[in-house]
Amino acid sequence: MIILALSILLSTDTLATSSHTIDEVVVVSMAGEGRKRSAKGQVASIDEHLAELNHVNLVRRGSYAWEPVVNNMATERVSTTIDGMKIFYACTDKMDPVTSYVESSNLQSILLNSGLNGNPQSTGNIGGSLDLKLRRIGFNQPTRWANVDVGYETNGHLQVYGADVAVSSQRFYTNGGFFFRHADNYKEGGGREVQFSQFQKVNAFVNAGVKLAERDVLEGTFIFDRATDVGYPALNMDVAKAEAFITSLSYKHQWTEGFLNSWETKAYYNHITHIMDDTKRPDVEIHMDMPGKSWTSGLYSLISASNARHEAQMNYDLYYNRLFADMTMYPGGAAPMYMVTWPDVGTLNTGLALTDLVSLPHQQTVRVSAKIAQQWQKLNNQEGYHALRVFFPGMKDSYMQTTGRIAANYTWQPSHWQLSFGMGWGSRAPTVTEAYGYYLNNTFDQYDYIGNPRLKNESAVEVNGATKWLPSPRLTLSVEGNAFFFSNYIIGQFETRLSAMTVDAEGVKVYGNLNHATIVNTSLTAHWQPLPWLTWNNRLNYAVGHDDEGDPLPLISPFTYTSSLTFAYKRLQGKVELRGNSKQVDYGKKYGETATPAWAIGNISAQYTLSIHEHDLTLRAGVENLFDKRYTTYSDWCDIPQKGRNIYVNISVQL
């Protein structure tokens, strides 16, 4: 229903069902059947929604703000946009992936484009692009509408309260809501409490749309999100405050005839303030203040057109981002020590993107996308610039990069089969951390990282393919894979001549380009519905990543498997799930990674929907980690343990 209001998204939403490279998880509680959603429904955190997506893993540094990893590539190689808006995290230690600044109630769905075939606004998306689709009630909906969510989880006493209301008419709509989460320390399997794993978060949002004319729409969004007292057991510090303002205003014209469909222009601004805090930690050798700031202002203009053969989009975007972070250390009694860790880097980026979905005879389609982007960067903080010049005497205070991507996917769907093949090339500019970061301590390998302004752009050739066999409507088997062949792969490299800054750090790494590197992801899925009320889903993933010397890259997923049985009886749904990882064999030892042992856990969940006076009430309950296993996954930062047994229950009511 909301998709109607966002008709420009229709093309991608259609694709979601036809191509393996695109995946979507639905967040909103009311939506069509047969789509992916979290067993916890809308009460689930953004991180839990993300976990439902194929190709996605999550790096956990605590129980809040997990970092999405797509195709075994983290933030640097993944584009994350909120309804096409650029937003950049403000923490030098990646404590705040931008997905942490929205809440389930803000979103309609999360759309993932795997690999280089990204959404039009994405840049630097070698691994993939995530677009968080904001929830808008749209015009001509049931006039008034409200939704209340309440949830509780035993492990960590997680409480979730959310409410939102919507008003819709022919010419006007508005919806808004409020969300609150609070969690204490959680317990790992076996019952031991994980210190500093608490968090609290409030989120409020308002959207509104006005029809200026029959086919002209003005829409605005405002999101305020604030997390406080967030513990990071994997790090040496916690977060006192992580706060974001996200605003946008867009104007859209739609055509009902001719080949032009719509033209949307959106201007946006967002601002993030991130304040770390170590005052609650015991045995802090040196107290530190580490604030970070990020603000981004930008616009994009997207024209969609289609005829019998083509569904095309052209997008122009422009954004300006400022990133500043510093650190003050207070050794007992002595003078404070100060350094600029992100030297107030201003990035002006502009790009032009084209996508076209071409329908060919005999159930064949080709999707082509391309983007070229130009970027200018300036270091606005003199102190930070001069500090970095110690390491790079020849560096300048401004840089320019040109990046681009082009990708094509071919799909053929003869009866009972779906075959696809794709290729692409794309490049990305180094991130601010990679180019200008200054003594950023990484607790993963215990090294201090220094950026390298002389880095070359990283690029990759992607090849992907998938075969899906649908011998009957009740059985689907598919094999898919993608491979990324990198040139100038950017990674931290040992620099033994430099001395670490952080007390207890092993040494210093400086970002450098590896000549080449390879990441390959494969998966096998089987879907079988032996009985009308029973579905059996299985998924196996295997990935490898190698650097130029053939050694394993860090943070590459070991063999993973998921098997679940879903029962559906009238309004009751139940699910039993087994998830696990094999022992991590090819781990990035060279890069400071340690092997993670194998693990397997069981989850059960149930959902029941009832209608009382035309109001839908959905009750969800479940147990995660049924057998209270103590385990850590390969992507748990510093091997912090996952949650032990957790019983949850939540209710969503539609009024």
Partner: protein
């Protein structure tokens, strides 16, 4: 910018001259040393303006002020108007009492700081720069020298300063003026000494308070203790090399890369390059080598692995 200011000054000055024609004793314009006609004893109007500007950046040391022959005022300056332990830049400027115009030709001689040690009732001097010279030709009426004071004033002892001056044939000076010498704050230690045989040498670090995070030029002087000790200590005639190893003791002895040892320059100073990666306390461990490369001081490895000879600076 400079030009504009100058033109403005000239305009004001000429107005003043015109309006004050009737009475020569009244100066009308009270900006030291600005004179349209250029004083033969000093400088052009532009140079005088540069001198004036420079003086605004330093402060008078009242104890070292004097008058010569009732005709000239002698002004001594330091950055703060006070002196502290370790290296201090000193500047001298002479003005004519009558016109306030600057005088270019003057000589400071026998500049002698002496410390009186209370307990032993003994006297000793301290390292000083050779002579007071013009250091920037755009302001030829300012002469610079330096003194590196071994200790601050305390119950143990106090400092007395003397110097002779000759201005355009007239002679004067200051004799045994007591000046309070301040201690440096915690985390600042810019003067160290070492012994080679019976000789004592002093390592004076020049103005580290001007340093900033990043790459800095490091400058120092090596002076040799005189006999008798009441003679100001002149620069050592030998040639040394001072190797530096800057560390942050509060940061697990974090260091910076690409520091360059101090080597002797034509003016007798030693300069090198020091890289500072952040603000805070930096301990600059020193290894002094003679011209043959033999370590003569420092370079010993204490428990912590670093030289016992070091300067401390806090950025």
């Amino acid at each position: 910018m400079n030009k504009k200011v100058l033109i403005l000054f000239l305009a004001i000055a000429s107005l003043g001259l015109v309006s004050c024609n009737s009475n020569d004793d009244e100066t009308g314009i009270v900006i030291d040393g600005i004179d349209l006609t250029s004083d033969v004893d000093c400088c052009s109007a532009e140079e005088a303006l540069q001198v004036y500007r420079f003086i605004q950046t330093v402060h008078i040391i009242p104890e070292l002020r004097t008058e010569v022959d009732g005709k000239y005022d002698v002004w001594a300056y330091s950055k703060t108007g006070t002196l502290h332990r370790g290296y201090n830049d000193l500047y001298f400027v002479v003005t004519k009492k009558k016109t306030s115009n600057y005088v270019k030709n003057f000589d400071i001689k026998n500049f002698t700081p002496l410390m009186h040690m209370v307990k032993t009732d003994m006297w000793h001097s301290t390292p000083v720069g050779g002579s007071f010279e013009v250091f920037d030709t755009t302001r030829p009426a300012v002469k610079r020298g330096w003194v590196s004071l071994l200790m601050n004033t305390s119950d143990a002892g106090n400092w007395q300063f003397s110097y002779d001056i000759e201005v355009l044939g007239s002679k004067g000076g200051v004799t045994s003026k007591t000046i309070n010498v301040e201690a440096l704050p915690e985390g600042q230690d810019w003067l160290k000494n070492f012994k080679v045989g019976d000789d004592t040498y002093f390592l004076s670090l020049v103005n580290p308070s001007d340093w900033k995070t990043g790459t800095n030029t490091i400058q120092a002087y090596i002076s040799k203790k005189s006999t008798p000790a009441t003679t100001p200590y002149a620069l050592a005639t030998e040639t040394f090399t001072i190797e530096i190893d800057p560390r942050m003791p509060d940061m697990g002895n974090h260091t910076s890369p690409d520091n360059v040892a101090l080597t002797k320059q034509q003016d007798g100073s030693y300069t090198g390059t020091i890289n500072l990666t952040m603000t805070g306390l930096w301990r600059i461990h020193l290894t002094v080598k003679d011209s043959k490369g033999n370590v003569v001081a420092g370079g010993d490895k204490l428990k912590d692995g670093f030289s016992s000879l070091y300067w401390d600076i806090t950025l």
